[in-house]
Assembly symmetry: C2
Homo-oligomer: 313 residues x 2
Amino acid sequence: MRVTVLAGGVGGARFVKGLRGALGADDEITVVVNTGDDLWLSGVRLQPDIDSILYALAGVNDTERGWGRAGETERVSAELQAWGAGWPWFTLGDLDLGTHLARTGWLREGLTPSQIAERLGARWPIGVRLLPMTDAEVDTHVVVEGGAHLHFQEWWTRHRASLPAVAFENPGIGDAAPGAGVVEAITGADVVVLAPSNPVVSIGPILKVPGILDALHGARRVVGISPIIGGKVVRGMADACLPAIGVETSADAVARHYGRRADGGVLDTWLVAEEDAALAPALAADGWDVRVEPLWLSAPEESAALARAAITP
Amino acid sequence: MRVTVLAGGVGGARFVKGLRGALGADDEITVVVNTGDDLWLSGVRLQPDIDSILYALAGVNDTERGWGRAGETERVSAELQAWGAGWPWFTLGDLDLGTHLARTGWLREGLTPSQIAERLGARWPIGVRLLPMTDAEVDTHVVVEGGAHLHFQEWWTRHRASLPAVAFENPGIGDAAPGAGVVEAITGADVVVLAPSNPVVSIGPILKVPGILDALHGARRVVGISPIIGGKVVRGMADACLPAIGVETSADAVARHYGRRADGGVLDTWLVAEEDAALAPALAADGWDVRVEPLWLSAPEESAALARAAITP
């Protein structure tokens, strides 16, 4: 079976890990990863979502802290702060920095982000193909009340998404092309899954890359998993993002935001949490194939069960 | 008193530290530093000679190992090796990498190497102004027997200068300009000192920057210190470099290579070691102001005594 997942960082990583546990050695998993979180920091290129998924699949991630590498130190970051360089509110782990430097060196040698993702994915037997959504630099910018434009990471990490956002932009994305293999991974899959990632800043940029929406329209089957459980965001700060695009923080509002493929949207099936079962009838009445499932990803067996539910026709 | 030193890395650092110890708070020391050793590594800009002098003057250098920062670790470097990135034979210390990343970020922001050297010099009260010889990228390349061209660091660090060199080149140096303040530091000094650094790959590139030779010709007084003691190189591998420019590894051959200012060269005075006292009469007979002094820089008081001897009219 061939499964392609569209995903952001931490939530995407947990889901994909569950999917890998649910599938066998003959199955193929491809993850199209958001690159809107990417940034240049002190001349070094960071791709946080790709790295989060990579580390989680390799089992080298810090599960207590929830991000970065296990056994991490921050010696270089402390030096950067002593120099007054970089972003003092953005901590670079030393092990993580090794990845960023390898990537930056390869970019300088002329490799594309798609080629680099392939190299990164080859270090550990992760059993999953990671594809950046695009090779273009289309970092997400946030327009906040008052009109200032911030890089997504500044808004998210420095201000903890506390400045009210009025818009999210990806400058240049109108001219971007899908990363190598992305369109084929979507149109060639038995099922495409929208991971329970942030609909605005994780899945949103992926859908904005010209060609990806068309690929989804041509896919065999597209399933989405609600990132909202019981009317609440369970990871990240999607509730700080959804208002900017006029979407309520609820499982049905996010579904209607993505839309049914039959109506020109991207989804055939929508998985809502048991806590949101009451929202299912209204969606079903509007023609949705809506399914009620446990959506928690706290334990590996939960993630695997959810993955099984998502790929079941 | 105003003293300007032309210097490479480790030998230059020791001499300058001695000079700082010999002079008072009202004296001004400027060091014009070789940038031929500079390199790009995994997208990061390294300037080893500037950093060596900076760390030594700040007292944060590793005195046992002879290079880099004290208390250094190599976590990032180990990761780079695991990724198969960078140069496996070139170790980047984590603390040192903090300097390189700060520099690289500032370069990316549009600062010049001269401006960056000023920032770097401001972290610790080093009491010395560090000026890169040029803001242009003129990394030294080595042509070895057989015709291959290697970056200086590859020849020096990877091959330990074991491949016979036939030429040293600094591509683009003909179009380079002296770094900010370099010409003024040379022409405005009471005395200019050529540190006992490698004549070919440390002092050599500095003299090749258009405008610096003219500045030396217009200087008040120029003193050179032999890097050769008793016919032997005491630091580094100058004996692997001198043959490529047709100069013998001896204190008098290096003096004649630099030349007397009265003959169109760069020196007024040449300091040779007590071990080379026998060479002095022939140089004196040719009109040289040659002085015999202890040239060892092993202890701070030795370096200070040598510095005092160098600046004595």
